[in-house]
Symmetry: C2
Subunit: 337 residues, 2 copies
């Protein structure tokens, strides 16, 4: 049973002064007699006084809380990113409400709703693989609540975004495969709707073109990022008349699953088929063979996105151009290529 929480009135009554004075003492207002302040602070401490966010939020119309919505939580990518976001938020005196949409559009909409109800001062979001309608996010704009996209961004909304050099990273990965003598390089991509996939695909195409490796459309496949489906596409690749000698996967989880499946068939990695992922997930260095992948600064992405959000919150006029910050990627060569 929740007990009575001490209020400034309790302190005021006890000390025989007005609650305004107590409030002033507590918030560090300069014009308060030092003795009074000390007495208040001491009693507040003793009574384990706790400011009530509701009343303050009601007054100030600010919650000092940011929301973050991520599509999933089970791989290390988003949790790590959240750590970065949380760090930066905390430094700035903001709290973070986290929710994950489980790759479901419905859940994402509902989570956004929750963020709104909780009066977040701003929203960080990476959309699900199935999000095509952005009404629930445009609502934030209409309400004047700033948004920042990261990782999986929405192209049609003009808000700050944080992405990485997807195209450059993909380019480096594919060029590396070519340098290893691979010529039939497949690309197992994600949903075409995600711009992140478009950019990585562009890097793939560019690398092929630069080195005069002909593009074979049989070797380009899109899938919905449901890990259990990787099997279908790996089988498809392996059963092609001309089997690919490398697969550039859209992300590390996909690549790891591909490695697992290919190992089962007895094919050698990387001799028969090389595999490259994207992200440098924690697991990538642990599996056998260790995974060649494109590293992205995950925590940094979280920090940067949060900073962009804070920038918007501080800025009263929203008449500035929405920046898109692009972070560096780096090819990490391991044993799978």
């Amino acid at each position: 049973m929740k007990k009575h929480q001490t209020t400034i009135f309790d302190i005021a009554k006890e000390l025989g002064i007005s609650k305004s004075t107590v409030s002033r003492a507590l918030t560090g207002h300069p014009s308060v007699h030092e003795q009074t302040r000390d007495k208040v602070l001491k009693l507040a401490n003793q009574l384990e006084y706790q400011r009530n966010m509701f009343s303050i939020g009601l007054m100030k119309k600010a919650s000092h809380t940011l929301g973050i919505i991520v599509p999933e939580f089970s791989r290390s990518f988003f949790p790590q990113l959240i750590i970065g976001a949380q760090e930066r938020a905390k430094e700035a005196g903001y709290n973070l409400i986290i929710s994950q949409s489980d790759e479901s559009y419905e859940t994402e909409v509902s989570n956004a709703q929750v963020m709104l109800t909780h009066q977040v001062d701003g929203l960080l979001i990476s959309i699900t693989r199935e999000t095509n309608n952005f009404e629930h996010l445009k609502l934030f704009q209409r309400k004047g609540i700033p948004i920042v996209f990261f990782n999986r961004v929405c192209d049609e909304m003009i808000v700050p975004k944080v992405i990485v050099e997807d195209q450059e990273g993909a380019f480096a990965a594919v060029e590396h495969l070519i340098a290893r003598g691979k010529r039939r390089i497949a690309h197992l991509s994600g949903p075409e709707s995600l711009s992140i996939c478009k950019r990585r695909k562009a890097g793939y195409m560019t690398a092929l073109a630069k080195h005069q490796v002909p593009f074979d459309e049989d070797l380009l496949v899109h899938y919905d990022l449901a890990i259990n489906k990787v099997k279908i596409y790996v089988n498809y690749f392996l059963n092609l008349k001309e089997r690919p000698d490398a697969i550039f996967c859209i992300n590390d989880p996909t690549a790891i699953e591909a490695i697992r499946l290919i190992k089962e068939t007895g094919l050698r990695i990387p001799e028969d088929i090389a595999i490259i992922g994207f992200s440098n997930d924690f697991v990538s260095s642990l599996i056998e063979p260790s995974l060649t992948t494109v590293e992205q600064p995950i925590k940094e992405m979280g920090r940067t996105a949060t900073q962009l959000l804070l920038d918007q919150i501080d800025r009263d006029v929203a008449d500035w151009k929405a920046p898109t910050v692009v972070l560096k990627t780096k090819l990490i060569v391991r044993n799978s290529s």
Copy 2:
């Protein structure tokens, strides 16, 4: 710039009725004319009205928000657990504020502070490896805010707890090693202060005793769970005059690191040294050799802890015995043993 948020007053004014009526219509109060209700609902929808949590919280003295504090976030264990907690919370109409203390006592205290300020209706917590003082949590009790511990619990506080059959799981693991013919079984444990470590150690001891395998105190080591320190203890084990032929590790991350280190030395796993972990982390099946481990129902733990918290919130009188729920564990035998 945050725009004016529509309030019930805006709706009332627009419709030429009183805000009480609007409030009643919105909350589904029975005694309101159907036509009025429809008009209100329609306009509210049109104006994209959003209830203001602050004012409601201020009135009802309930935030309909739960807090969860976990010691870390980078391995899959806690994120998965949080998914379970979030599911159950959502079903019950509660939101979840998540924070991670980065295995730092200081941060944990500060996070608890934040939860208090945010007026959470209840707190779920798994303590850091260095938490020995529980004043910050007892404060919740004094304020009448329910707490539930999970995974890493505090023995000295009488509140509901969710743990798994640590002792039984550890027993099964060690018994399995003995069945495999291992006799010098080491145990790399965590901080002695964590009861979870005590229980797993108890299982280890019991299994040895049951099978008349003499206990050698050289083979029992406690460490602080900082992964980079695993190296020290693995080296210690390997350099003993009589090298152990198996290591039962306190958790999967530890075991995975141990495998990595032992592979570097050229020793064979499991022939020279068998390794067993605890948790069945996502990675465990992917590494080489795949890790034998004790599975625990992670999501279920999150759900159960949340349920116990909701139980307390609903219950007005707190005069019932704090239950400790113990979930089942299961040995998963793979190639490392």
